[in-house]
Amino acid sequence: MGPEQRIVCQWCRGQNLPGAVSCRSCGAPLDVRNTVSDSGWAAAPRLKDMTEFQFSHSTCQVEGEIVPVADVMLGPGDSVFFEHHVLLWQDPAISLAAMPLGGAIKRMLAGMPFAVTQAHGPGHVAFSRDATGELVVLPLHPGMELDVREHAFLLASHSIQYSFIRIKGFFNILFGGEGMFMDRFVTAGESGLLMLHGYGNVFQRTLKAGECILVEPGGFLYKDATVTMNVEMQRTGAGLLGGAGMALARMTGPGRVGIQSMYKHHKSS
């Protein structure tokens, strides 16, 4: 079958067989045009209830639309890792193990998860967060690096390397809404699957090299590692003392930036 006969997913660029209605890599509906606003933001695909997609030897089914559940059927030898408080249910056959992480004390001090848990197949295990929002499915191809705000990732497949980066600059730490660290997900030789939970609706925009936008720090969800992020103060008054100000994150391309419409969740703040 030639490449002209494949359907390319507008969200993850995955290739699908003719007649497919949802992408087999990310679950995005293929029969709906990508919704892009006049300002260039693409809405994350609204995953149809009970949509199923594949990664490695496993499948993931998205259930529900208010607080969606990621129900993963892990194949033998496959595993996913996650923060332990997002577990919803599991088959008794699934085995859990702690995933070794470097810099546990730093992470603990920074309020990041220092205990990341791994679920090993075969069997079913399901995840959800405790707030209304969307699941964002990001298949990561080899060589990709993605930075994600802390506590936003729901699960990632075993082939993805998980680390964290320190946010530089005192101002960024204080006013960036992120704290000191951000999660970094890297794929080496093998593709992987990363799922995030965004509060409210999620939108993505691809910035050209040197292109900038300002984002409210609480609304930031993820970015490509190539996008730089610096928090700067915007003056909102012109009084003798300079008036009040507000902190905004300046994102500079090239790369993708994802935002969420419901700002930082009150329970994780």
Binding site: E63, I66, L96, A97, D130
Partner: protein, 382 residues
């Protein structure tokens, strides 16, 4: 769910609701028993969960001579049109609005003191028709309409009740599921699935029970002996035949250097419903010093790959499961049982209990918990 009486719909071609089994005639777009959308096929996941069919906006349910309309999709409202002589009961904080002529009375509840200590609603209100009265909770989620046939009962986790018709009997029972931890000389008890659970039973006539769950709701039928691990606060309701236990897992395999996962271990037969948005169990990470009920499978070797594990089996709907107590607690509990008059401790005896507890190294908080325990076991120490 048991079927409703088909007699009233015999004039038109009929089908049955896929969700509650009620009879639906061909002219209806939603089930009159539970509001489930009729034309929508039942959605089941590969893992066996059936998704609660969304109740269509403005769907109307029939409850005896009264009706209930479900309004809205994100935070749905249950708008009852109560006929004369009909009534519903509810916890007072879910009331949204009512007609002036709808009369609200206090519904008598037994064990108010114990309920207060357990954080359950102490005051249940009852609204009497005729007139409109509407209820909603303050979080996005789904409304679950459970038509109960006469004699049918269902166990619901605390705080999920929105409203129920007055012919549905409301009781509650001790889950018997707890873990204790030590803070200095004080023992603290934790109830991951709640200290008590609500039980709703339709008496002589069918009734309607309305629940509000956070996020999406999924239901599953467990076969006899089939087990499942769910997060304790994700449970919405279960059949009485489903038994519960606690399961604690340490993913690293070592208690002293691991976070722990607290599970509710459910075993069939029967139905189980869960919600996708749930409040995480507060776990301060202190070492667990005791468990509810004997735990023969505490360190089951079959679960070695998941780290050490504790399984606490509790018989289905058994509020009187034997509880292993600290000997000091046992002595105070025996004293409390002997001193109890009509389910309460007289003030003079309370002082003696507190003095005795102090000599045992127990706090006033421990005494309060012990009294709760004795009260919930009919005045017995264990």
């Amino acid at each position: 769910m048991p079927a409703q009486d088909p007699a009233s719909h015999s004039h038109a071609p009929v089908s049955r609701c896929r969700w509650c089994g009620a009879v639906i005639d061909s002219s209806q777009l939603s089930c009159p028993g539970c509001g489930a959308t009729v034309e929508r096929s039942q959605k089941a996941s590969d893992s066996g969960w059936i998704e609660l069919p969304p109740i269509k906006d403005m769907a109307r349910l029939r409850v005896g001579s009264s009706t209930c309309q479900i309004e809205g999709m994100y935070v749905p409202v249950a708008d009852f049109n109560l006929a004369s002589g009909d009534s519903v009961y509810f916890a007072h904080h879910v009331l949204l609005w009512k007609d002036v002529q709808v009369e609200i009375k206090r519904m008598p509840l037994a064990g108010a003191f114990t309920r207060m200590l357990a954080g359950m609603p102490v005051v249940m209100a009852e609204a009497h028709g005729p007139g409109h009265i509407a209820f909603s909770r303050d979080e996005p989620g789904e409304m679950i309409a459970l038509p109960l046939d006469a004699g049918h009962a269902i166990d619901v986790r605390e705080h999920l009740l929105l409203a129920a018709t007055s012919n549905v009997n409301y009781t509650w029972f001790d889950t018997g599921l707890w873990v204790s931890s030590q803070r200095g000389t004080e023992t603290e008890y934790h109830y991951p699935a709640g200290r008590y659970m609500d039980r709703f039973t339709a008496l002589e006539r069918p009734g309607l029970l309305l629940l509000h769950a956070g996020g999406n709701v999924f239901v599953r039928q467990l076969a006899a002996g089939q087990s499942l691990l769910i997060k304790p606060k994700a449970l919405v309701y279960k059949d009485r035949s489903v038994s519960m236990g606690l399961n604690v897992q340490y993913p690293t395999g070592y208690r002293w250097m691991s976070h722990r996962l607290m599970w509710l271990h459910l075993t069939g037969p029967g139905r189980v419903a869960i919600q996708s948005a749930y409040e995480p169990v507060e776990d301060e990470g202190r070492a667990i010093s005791g468990y509810s009920a004997p735990t023969p499978g505490r360190r089951a070797s079959s679960q070695a790959s998941t780290g050490s594990s504790s399984v606490v089996p509790v018989p289905a709907g058994a509020p009187t499961a034997p509880i292993r107590m600290d000997p000091r607690h046992q002595r105070i509990a025996q004293m409390a049982a002997g001193a109890m008059v009509k389910g309460e401790i007289p003030p003079l005896m309370m002082q003696r209990l507190l003095d005795a507890a102090e000599r045992e190294g127990l706090s006033a908080y421990d005494v309060r918990l012990i009294i709760k325990h004795v009260q919930s076991h009919g005045g017995r120490a264990n």
